[in-house]
Amino acid sequence: MGFLRRASKTLKLSKYLPLLQANSKFSPISSLSRRNPLYSEFSYGHFGLSHAFCSHSRKNSKDSDIDLSQYPTERIRNFSIIAHVDHGKSTLADRLLELTGTIKRGHGQPQYLDKLQVERERGITVKAQTATMFYKHNFHGADNNGDHEEPSFLLNLIDTPGHVDFSYEVSRSLAACQGALLVVDAAQGVQAQTVANFYLAFESNLTIIPVINKIDQPTADPDRVKAQLKSMFDLDASDALLTSAKTGQGLEQVLPAVIERIPPPPGKSNSPLRMLLLDSYYDEYKGVICHVAVVDGMLGKGDKVLSAATGQAYEILDVGVMHPELTPTGVLHTGQVGYVVTGMRSTKEARIGDTLYHNRTIVEPLPGFKPAKHMVFSGLYPADGCDFEELNHAIERLTCNDASVSVIKESSTALGMGFRCGFLGLLHMDVFHQRLEQEHGAHVISTIPTVPYIFEYSDGSKVEVQNPATLPSNPKQRVAACWEPTVLATIIIPSEYVGAVITLCSERRGQQLEYSFIDSQRAFMKYQLPLREIVVDFYNELKSLTSGYASFDYEDAEYQQSDMVKLDILLNGQPVDAMATIVHNLKAQRVGRALVEKLKKHIDSRQMFEITIQAAIGSKVIARETISAMRKNVLAKCYGGDISRKKKLLEKQKEGKKRMKRVGSVDIPQEAFHELLKSS
């Protein structure tokens, strides 16, 4: 340690930095935790070390010992970590938090920033989080007061979702960063989400620091990954850091690299306040808490701010940094990242990407704000029919924390009262379902996800269809045209699976746009695919075709004109609205056949009447199955007056009936709906 400090005091020029990094490899990491930022910041302030706005901020920050005034923009670095799933993003984040003493090693749960159960289970991030860290590092760019202490840097790690469903959220989070650690698994190499995330970061003009992680693995091949980085992204391979977040190897290079390579935030401290809203969540006690980045100017507790998106005025009730939990500082300066509590009643008011600014000032809103765009829709119904209110309550509470879901009440003859929900994408929908069940104990049936189609009729009128059941089966006007949303898919696979994947994509009506090799073993393909074709089971299919080796990612692309038709499923002539679907004309026959067969399989054949199951386009039946009526269900003997057993059996049968959903004259077991909707 002493060696490192001596070295850092003497070597101030950037050209010596590689040397510093080399040296610091030998220093034990654990000793870094001694640099308790709270402690050291306190001493800064206490001795009144020469800093212009020191006294001012001391006054404002009586809530905690953190004096943010010590950190002008040149001693702030805002960065995020981007990676494909499981390449070690969360573990790396944990290590950085430990390294800076923000959390204690071994304390706090692993994947510290992934607070939701669903995030931990799936190893994904769905909500942005920020963490403020303090790190001492001797670097020429910082103003060093002539003191013998190494200067302390304020590092804000902005943890962003990785999946493209949240690409808008990601882009807003990245807008608050000046750099990103691009983490790539040393064995797996560049994957689809690596590509997508790289381009997001690249488009945001971020400085990218490649980190080749998991180098402790026996199959690690950093050289191959370096070559991929070079060929795919034109990144200088010699810049790449080699780490193992697991063993700690190479970690000491990370923060110095962040400080030295990533530029400080460019905001102007003497301009009026402009603050970017990154994300929000609902806290039972404090209400809505917004993660924010102060781009220009300064924010203090008690300030009055306005939302550029809604025009709403708010008072700043509390402001601080996430260190790692809510730590009030009373103030946030230019370039700093933290949280505010404003008395917003719902997270719906907190629009991601919104600009907050001071009352009675005029500012240009920060660029890039967009309202949420819903690409996947699905009906959510209470699984037990009667507990609609419970589901309503659960959805209300969850949307408090996930304002990006659109919710409209709808009712289905088959499933009763429920909701039509719009999601940013598939993962978002999945996560929403999982959170409903895990965090709110709701049991739901969700209808087959559908995408928003646009139908144009011969009279020129257009409708957007979010629920296939609402599209008239026999419209008065002829359908003149139909458009469906598409995506640009990135698929990276070991080269031996190319044939199978091309077949799959063409079955799914995909159009190949690009086909190349990342290296000798990996192929890279870009497809334009109808969103409809990937919403249900594309990814699973792709994974199973490629023994799990495929990586897949997509971004929204434009609508394309397609020959889509509405396919109705009829039970004894009555349409089952929950099973209506919109399919491509050429696939209607096959889909209809499969649905009818599946429905036959899942309907309990023991029904009192014969049931016909049909698939129809308009009035044209394209598939048909029949279930013959139940012949007999009688218990002949009621022996010796002992009715208890028979009664139990009848009670059980009654309970079974309760779980039935009635469509016309046909009872469909609840389980059948589950099965049908789950897997079709």
């Binding site: 012949r631 007999k632 009688v634 010796g640 208890s644 009664k647 009654k654």
Partner: protein
């Protein structure tokens, strides 16, 4: 269960909150004076009525030579070697115990009406020596009294009695025989594991006839393994030829834990398919109706006036005593099953004698009692009496039932009958269900049709359950 003493049967009378009013017939035993709070909670117009004590008694005589392959009843297999059952100590001890149970039964009120029906079920009651049967009847006579014209039924199996034994039984008062023939095919009897063959069947029919048993029932089982429609037709024909006053046709239930349960899966070979099995039921209904039998309950047919009175107490939801191993009674509004193991039953009788058995509050909800009424009355051709059901459980429930059953009237599974027991058409019901007002003819009964409704009775009754207890 086995804690405090019996509640004196009429002790709570003065405390009864509501004045008695006449009880409708079909459900007249649903409410008991021992559970007034339940009644109050149960329905707004709860009647609390003097509940007549039972006038029926079921006596369980569990002994069999061996267990039949389909049987999961509470029986004691004696072993086929012991043909000499006269002095079997197991029977003697059991009958003693049973009589102790009868005697220990607390019947405070000496004004109890005498028994109208006694049913010896089993097991194979005909294995029991007449002198033991006699001691049971004596005990019953002493305890409750036995009406001079009471129906005393006994289940008798071919091969377990001769003319002498039959006559002895008749002398004791047995005046109705339920003959367990089951099938008229040697191979089927064998496949069922019956302890008798076809010869014994004919002998038994002969004995019953020659001894002059006027009222007897032929018991048959349909849907046996390897049973063909021809065999079933033959069984039905021979049954009609034997001229019993009553026929019981039981559809085979494959129960878990029986030999059949191990060997067979319902609906799969060698058991008849569901379609064929339902055809057997239809054949029985058609053949026996044509022969002048009245299909008065799902599995019971009788010549006019020869209903099994004892079984009618079950279908009418009337109270009945029960004595013996594993038997189920319905007294004071409480349905209670005795222990099925001999040792536990013995302990039960001892506790009963020592006053340690609590008659236990029934605590049954109105829903629970209403579903009893539904499942029992809908098994019969008389059906559910809507008037009395409405009085007990509310007319809104009757309306809801009518609504739920209307589609099945159209499909022919359910029949609505007016006061004169004339069937009503579905469109007549529409008026009732739409206006909910008075219409010219109101339905007075709901019954399941024969055979379509009976065949799907579990479906239809559980549907009614869902209306009553959603």
């Amino acid at each position: 269960m086995l804690k405090s003493s019996f509640t004196p049967i009429f002790s709570t009378f003065p405390a009864k909150p509501l004045s008695p009013k006449p009880l409708p017939n079909a459900i007249f035993s649903c409410f008991t004076h021992t559970a007034p709070t339940v009644c109050q909670n149960a329905s707004p117009n709860t009647p609390t009525t003097i509940l007549p004590p039972p006038t029926s008694a079921y006596i369980h005589l569990p002994f069999c030579r061996k267990r039949c392959h389909y049987c999961d009843f509470t029986i004691v297999a004696l072993g086929s070697s012991s043909n000499q059952t006269e002095d079997d100590p197991r029977m003697i001890n059991y009958v003693q115990l049973l009589c102790r149970e009868i005697n220990a039964m607390k019947a405070e009120n000496k004004a109890n009406p005498p028994l109208e029906t006694v049913f010896f079920g089993g097991g194979t009651p005909s294995l029991v020596p007449p002198k033991l049967v006699s001691s049971i009847l004596d005990t019953l006579r002493l305890k409750f009294g036995l009406s001079s014209d009471s129906e005393i039924s006994m289940e008798m199996d071919p091969g377990t009695f001769d003319a002498k034994k039959m006559k002895d039984m008749m002398e004791l008062g047995v005046n109705r025989v339920s003959l367990g023939v089951q099938a008229f095919q040697e191979e089927l009897l064998k496949a069922c594991g019956r302890a008798h063959g076809l010869r014994e069947v004919y002998e038994a029919i002969e004995i019953v006839g020659s001894c002059g048993v006027e009222n007897w029932s032929m018991d048959l089982i349909s849907s046996l393994p390897h049973q063909t429609p021809e065999m079933w037709e033959e069984s039905l024909r021979l049954t009609v030829e034997a001229c019993p006053t009553h026929v019981s046709v039981y559809d085979l239930q494959v129960e878990q834990g029986t030999k059949f349960g191990l060997l067979y899966i319902p609906g799969e070979f060698p058991l008849p398919s569901e379609t064929r099995s339902s055809e057997f039921y239809r054949m029985a209904s058609r053949t026996l109706s044509d022969a002048g039998y009245n299909h008065y309950e799902i599995s019971s047919y009788c010549k006019s006036g020869y209903h099994c009175k004892h079984n009618l107490t079950y279908w009418k939801n009337k109270p009945f005593y029960a004595f013996g191993l594993g038997s189920a009674s319905y007294v004071d509004g409480v349905r209670f099953s005795r222990p099925k193991r001999m040792k536990e039953y013995m302990g039960y009788v001892e506790n009963l004698e020592n006053g340690l058995v609590d008659s236990c509050e029934s605590n049954r909800s109105a829903q629970d009692m209403a579903t009893d009424v539904l499942m029992l009355s809908l098994r019969t051709s008389r059906g559910l009496d809507l008037k009395s059901f409405g009085e007990e459980y509310g007319s809104s429930l009757v309306l809801a039932l009518c609504k739920a059953y209307k589609p099945y009237v159209e499909s022919g599974h359910v029949v609505f009958l007016d006061e004169q027991r004339r069937a009503m058409a579905a469109d007549e019901l529409n008026a009732l269900l739409v206006n909910e007002d008075k219409i010219e003819r109101s339905p007075a009964y709901i019954r399941l049709s024969d055979p379509d409704g009976f065949l799907l009775s579990n479906e239809l009754i559980s549907l009614a359950f869902a209306v009553v207890a959603p």
